[in-house]
Amino acid sequence: MKLKSNTALRGWFGRLRPTVQRRLKIAVPYSLTGILTLIVTYSVSDPPNWLIWFPFTALFVLLEFFAVEVNDRLLQSSSVMVAMTAGVIFAIQPDSDAMFAMALMGGMAMFTPLDFKEKRWFQPLANFGQFVMAGAVAGFLLDVNLGYLQNLTTANLVRVAVATALAALAYATVQSVLIRMAVKTVFGKDNLQPWSQMHILFLGQVAMGLLGGLIGAAYLIADREAVLVLTVGVYAIGHMSLYAFSQLRESHIGSIRGFVKTLEAKDMYTRGHTERVAVFAQMIGEELGFTGTQLEKVRWAALIHDLGKLAVPTELIRKRGRLDDEEYAEMQTHAHLVEEILAEVDFLQPMVEIASGHHSNFDGTGYGGRGHTEGETPSLEACIVGVADAFDAMTSARSYRMALSQQYAIRELRRHSGGQFHPDVVDAFEKALNKTGRNWGAPHVNDEEMARRLAEEPELTLRG
């Protein structure tokens, strides 16, 4: 007798769309582990005082309802404060434990209004699992470290603070690991905006957890109801700080979008070019090991790299045929005109420096503004934008020639590697391009002369 693999189940799974498969791969284990965690914690720890648990959980769910978008994929709320306040109170009060109480409270976070509205099933299930696990781990640490305290006074506040900080750290760590895993499995790297400033958010979560726990301890010591009422205000402050974070981020993205829209209004050819250069720059950055904020900087620099063209006469941008030397020089000034246009926009200054160097060459020649010193290699970021820009310039159609093929473009990049282009960046780009398996540009146009002739005499068609 032999075990036969369950072809029926595998067949059923295999027939699902790949996106659904990837979601199931996360949702099922996460939610099952969540349920299991609830059962185990319920059996090993004392239930909480439900009269305290319910109002706290209501606040917890309320804060989750108002979670703010911190980037394209993540919502964050200040609910960790509530969980930790309740956790510390349950851990210290006799006849109750924090572990099950916090796990169950976490499980209540599975619903967000948007998920309801858009009838999503994946997010609630995955969130249920990761919140329950985070709550259980933090509650376990609180129980172990604080459960033996009989008589809480200011004398053992330091101990409470340390235990709370530990639990908050564990809570935030479990959440961030599980979320990263889920996002990586489900969304892959495609379409994923760089996660910038995640360290600030992480530290913010830990600090909020610490604050929540300390307030719980302070309430137990002071034994004043008024403190609990004021605590609601403290939760609101926590929420406000996250909201301010997301507003600031939104203003940055909105600002860049405003500039890109304006450039596109002036010059139709730029439409798509900036976006593609940003995609290429991000691919190179990821290949070179850039992460988070650093990656976002490169991406944003790529998005604004051509803004200087706003100050270059459109006839020049559009001109058919070769530019004469004077025109060419004027065209090249756009690289540093971006400095003039964005001089007063503070948050973009690091990106402006990169963008203004995108026509500087690796060997120190070329044009550029602040980001360029004659004879010196421009920054790695500027080189990335330069390569991405050159590649897209070759593989997209211009007013004076047709699009060239990807093979031709890479050959050109490699030919000028070490001179015009940074060799590491060219290598990284080639690798990244091979990974995507996509082909940019016109497949058969393999030389510059042919591309120009095709643009000038459109009736010529390609043979073969």
Binding site: A222, V227, V234, G238, S241, Y243, L248, A265, L310, P313
Partner: protein, 415 residues
């Protein structure tokens, strides 16, 4: 109240430390709290008042001193006893006299320091007095039940009322903003004010039981609030800078008129305030003014050069450019319709055209006539009057006239 003479401001300002400090020292003699406690309070209040908290651009100046002031009556309430009101007032009076001196030492002007400190002093004293008066009966058992917070809430409302009234009443600078606008802008940063007073109250509630342990616990939410406020401010600054940079683009690319957007916006903003708008709507006017000509960047599109364009086209292109930027999208509709006439002969005016659009229409026309056609302000205003009620909104034209009169640019000598 007429605007004050600068010398009168200086004289009154020099009286401030003597009045406030005098009240403070007199109150100190009546206080039951020991002088050391009062000295600690004065020091903390003065230090707190040096820490500026970021606010939006409403002109409000908040410091951490507000949080300290909110905590003081709590701290000066002995277990189940009466608030030591005299000691609270002593701390406020002496503390603010020191803050006055520190402010002048740092080179601040009398005309800026005096209204703010007067407002603070009256506000603090009102808050402490109301808090102390409310702590009777059920609100005074001192056990820390939630009823304890009722006096705090009522006192806070009284304080806010004082802020609003004094903000509008204490106008010392010549040509300062209309009072209605000032009163509304006092409420503009209410979240900052509430965040500060709340952390103060939290400290006050915890202090009796925890002693100075209450400080680090209250400092944590405070730091969250502080960073949130500075982020809110940076958000505002980012939008402002972005819009200014965008507004300059037609000029940089040689397609716009130098300074037209800036000047139009300046006049439009003054009109908005003069017509009684609040800070949020005035901001809309400013953004719409700065953006109303951004569409000119499209002007050298070959097709447009060939076919020509109208003002309506520019308005439409401008609106299209900004419609997809968050935050700017809300002014896109104002920009789209800013070229439309007030009403055509024999027709009613279209109620869908916002007052913001109408203000931009009038102020842009005024600036165009003065700076492009070389008319005098008086001639330009005459033209606006001729078109009033048909081309231009008569109320906006009247407002422009009042502003130009106040600025004294209508003298025939300039014509």
């Amino acid at each position: 109240m007429a605007n004050w003479h600068p010398r009168a401001v200086t004289v009154v300002s020099w009286m401030f430390p003597f009045v406030a400090g005098g009240i403070g020292f007199y109150a100190a003699t009546l206080a039951t709290t020991d002088p050391f406690g009062i000295a600690v309070g004065v020091t903390v209040l003065a230090i707190g008042s040096l820490v500026e908290v970021a606010t939006s651009n409403s002109g409000n100046r908040f410091t951490t001193g507000i949080a300290v002031a909110a905590a003081i009556p709590f701290v000066l309430t002995p277990e189940s006893g009466r608030v030591d009101l005299a000691a609270s007032i002593a701390i406020y009076g002496i503390g603010l006299a020191i803050v006055w001196a520190l402010g002048l030492a740092r080179g601040e002007k009398h005309v800026d320091v005096l209204p703010t400190l007067t407002r603070r002093f009256v506000g603090y004293v009102t808050y402490a007095t109301v808090y102390s008066a409310m702590r009777v009966g059920a609100f005074a058992d001192g056990s820390g039940g939630w009823l304890d917070l009722v006096p705090f809430g009522v006192a806070l409302l009284a304080w806010i009322a004082v802020e609003v009234v004094l903000r509008a009443a204490l106008v010392l600078r010549p040509g300062e903003l209309p009072r209605a606008y000032l009163a509304r802008s006092a409420l503009h940063d209410l979240n900052v004010f509430l965040g500060l007073t709340l952390t103060g109250a939290l400290f006050g509630e915890l202090y009796p039981a925890l002693g100075w342990w209450a400080l680090p616990i209250a400092l944590l939410p405070y730091s969250f609030a502080h960073s949130a406020f500075s982020r809110f401010q940076k958000t505002k600054v980012t939008y402002k800078q972005t819009i200014r940079a965008l507004a300059r683009i037609p000029e940089v690319s040689g397609l716009g008129v130098d300074g037209h957007a800036d000047r139009t916006t300046e006049l439009a903003s003054a009109v908005g305030k003069e017509m009684g708008m609040g800070p949020a709507q005035v901001e809309d006017v400013e953004y719409a003014g700065l953006m109303h000509d951004i569409g000119r960047v499209s002007l050298n599109e070959p097709q447009i050069v060939r076919m020509g364009y109208t003002n309506g086209d520019i308005a439409r292109w401008s609106a299209e450019i900004i419609a997809e930027s968050p935050y700017l999208d809300r002014v896109a509709e104002h920009v789209r319709r800013q070229y439309e006439s007030y009403r055509r002969p024999g027709e009613q005016t279209d109620p869908d055209v916002s007052i913001v659009s109408r203000i931009i229409k009038v102020t842009a026309a005024y600036d165009w006539q003065v700076h492009q056609q070389g008319l005098s302000p008086l001639q330009a205003l005459e033209n606006l009057h001729t078109g009033a009620a048909y081309e231009y909104d008569p109320e906006v034209v009247a407002s422009v006239r009042r502003i130009l009169e106040a600025r004294g640019v209508l003298s025939p000598a300039r014509a």
